[in-house]
Amino acid sequence: MRTLGLFALVAVLILGTGFLQSWNSALIILNMGLVSAIMALGVNLQWGLAGLFNVGVMGFVALGGLAVVLTSVAPVPEAWAAGGTRILGALVLGFVSIAACVLAWKRLPRGRRGWAVAVLSIGGFFLYRAVLDPGVEAVEAVNPAATGFLGGLGLPVVLAWPVGGLLAAGVAWVIGKTALGLRSDYLAIATLGIAEIIIAVMKNEDWMARGVKNVIGLPRPLPYEIDLQNDPGFVDRAAGLGLDPTTASTLYVKLGYSLMFTAVLVLVLVLAQLALNSPWGRMMRAIRDNEEAAEAMGKDVTARHLQIFILGSVLCGMAGAMMTTLDGQLTPSSYQPLRYTFLIWVMVIVGGSGNNLGAVLGGFLIWFLWVQVEPIGQWLMNAVTSGMAEGSWLKAHLLDSVQHMRLLTMGVILLLVLRFAPRGLLPER
């Protein structure tokens, strides 16, 4: 009942935006809400189901974005000829030296292994750089204004969504292997760090995805608005609905995304619900509620944690790929931890941790607020400052600062919910 009511409220809010502002902005909110809901589901798997604290959502989301470029952009043959194989070789070499270190640590006797690992890792690093650097230089020199990177595989963009999940899974495995099994805060700090590093790599490794020069004009799974407007059949149908071709085409594309995203969300939600109610889900909650007891019953707590940490990160990576597809461009500098990590957390906590529907609800509701707080804040500030003298210093400052209201509002919402309704809007059953 409560669930239905709250989802109806979200629907009313979005429809209200459609009627009051414009259907385009309503659909923009809806689409990002769908993406946010999937991210929130991922975090909810980790936190709600297993009690794992992942502060690196941004990193996994960004990996998804990277996956879009690596999968869907057409390859740049000149760059591949200039240094592609060399870079690939260097990556393989780097991987091999890390594997050799791990192997040496595991196989060699205690006394010597430290030195062996030190020699292998330092030697491996210099070798890797020696092979990589000329390749990178050659690739980045290829028409730097337009390309200067290797490009992707030129596959359909929808394929990038699972690929994004895979990339995220790989990184999550590495992090989970190191930080899980230690105290809970360590995972938080390790994920916080890896997220910053993923962004740093994406900003600086120009050969991969052009770094801060951004990749724009990514392939789309849907037709372009301009093509629709030139299609007489589409214009006729739009006219039949009483819409002008421009609005109709933008709505058509956005609606297309909404349908695709909804399909993914429903699929993920059904799977998450099934998992939650399966024996596996019960085991997870048992582990979360009492690790010692679960361990005594013979459950491998660390392995289960690793499993669910990877699953949750896969969802974040997928959602990240979907978001980049929606944007049509990859801009590494736009990834901000407050927006992509902490906001998702607010969604999960407000929605109700441990409840999948709650996470979805939180995704929509908090995204709606995030978008709409600014106009509301603007209005509020105008009201507050209306009594002040025109051109006063304070008035100008207050009006300028409205954009920072968002952070404050989200922080206050998070604190209030944690204090007074720690189980969220839709509590776990």
Partner: protein, 336 residues
């Protein structure tokens, strides 16, 4: 001569910046580690506590400058630090009263407190941006340099110059004084001893009649002071930008964990380890090596292990290594 030149270049580009940065990190990590020892959670709002305290200091500095007060060769901000500490202390005590105390009384799990501190971080961050804006603020005044590179070259006749920024000297001196005061307080005063007792064994401390609320209050005040001093020194040395302070969270936590969470001595050691590795790995060694090595072996490239944009990766890798091989840190901090 060559060796001397190499030494000077090394001090100029690696040792001095790393010592200054290490002192700033150590002060930050001390705050994190104290909160961890006494209140038993990782305070994600620490970076933004630094930011907000520094902001108050900056505002006070501007006020003093407007009044025409100055310290001559020293930056005016030094006079404004007490105002910053007072502001930050009031803020964290208020936060503790309104937010953290509730969870402490409930004996909530540490991870809940971490999430709560994330909410506090949001609020602090919003307040900072709301009041001073997200942009860079430069508030250093007074003498820029103790020794400029040119003066040093004239003095010694070496090819390499050694520039010592006054903020760097100031950072080290202030850090030494603050750390000495802190250790004296922890080891020789009644309150300090009760803090250590509370950190070691909460139940035993409570049984022996230590007032926990008082210990917590004193801790917050000390942490606020450390955060403001660290933040102001960092701001003087580089510049003040709210987002940078949020990003400092990673090296600060890395320092605290590398040293061993809950161990003040470890926090200081960790701060310097992180700072030296960060600066050392991102510095282009060509110049120094060029002086030391024979001409035939002189390196052709920059000999920079990682570009400066990857400095976070350095603290992260060190953190991972410590977590893998010695999760309690070098100085055996708490592990639970």
């Amino acid at each position: 001569m060559e060796i001397l030149n190499a030494l000077v270049a090394l001090s100029n580009f690696v040792l001095i910046p790393a010592i200054a940065y290490g002192s700033q990190l150590a002060l930050g990590a001390l705050g994190v580690t104290l909160i961890y020892g006494i209140l038993r959670f990782s305070n994600f709002a620490h970076g933004d506590t630094m930011a907000i305290g520094t902001m108050v200091t900056i505002l006070a500095t501007w006020g003093l400058q407007a009044l025409g007060v100055s310290l001559g060769p020293l930056p005016t901000a030094l006079l404004a630090i007490p105002a910053g500490i007072a502001g930050a202390a009031v803020l964290v005590l208020l936060t503790d009263r309104l937010v953290y105390r509730f969870y402490r009384e409930q004996k909530a799990k540490p991870v809940i407190l971490v999430i709560v501190s994330m909410g506090v971080m949001f609020v602090y961050n919003g307040v900072t941006r709301f009041i001073i804006g997200p942009d860079d603020q430069n508030f250093a005044d007074g003498e820029r340099f103790l020794i400029t590179a040119r003066e040093f070259k004239e003095m010694t006749g070496l090819d390499e110059g050694l520039a010592l920024k006054s903020t760097q000297g100031l950072t080290v001196i202030t850090a030494v004084i603050v750390v000495a005061l802190l250790f004296w307080f922890l080891n020789h005063t009644r309150t300090g001893k009760s803090m250590r007792a509370y950190s070691d064994n909460e139940d035993l401390a409570l049984l022996s009649g230590i007032n926990p609320e008082r210990v917590v209050m004193v801790t917050w005040i000390i942490v606020a002071a450390l955060a403001v001093v660290a933040g102001t020194l960092y701001g003087l040395d580089k510049s003040f930008k709210p987002f940078t302070y949020f990003q400092l969270l990673l090296p600060i936590f890395a320092s605290a964990i590398v040293g061993g969470l809950g161990s003040p001595l470890g926090a200081i050691a960790g701060g310097f380890i992180i700072a030296f590795s960060e600066v050392g790995i991102t510095y282009a060694w060509k110049k120094v090596l060029g002086y030391v090595m024979p001409e035939s072996l002189e390196p052709s490239g920059l000999v920079q292990l990682l570009s400066t944009d990857y400095k976070f990766a350095v603290s992260f890798v060190i953190l991972i290594i410590v977590l893998l091989f010695r999760p309690t840190g070098l100085f055996r901090g708490k592990s639970v």
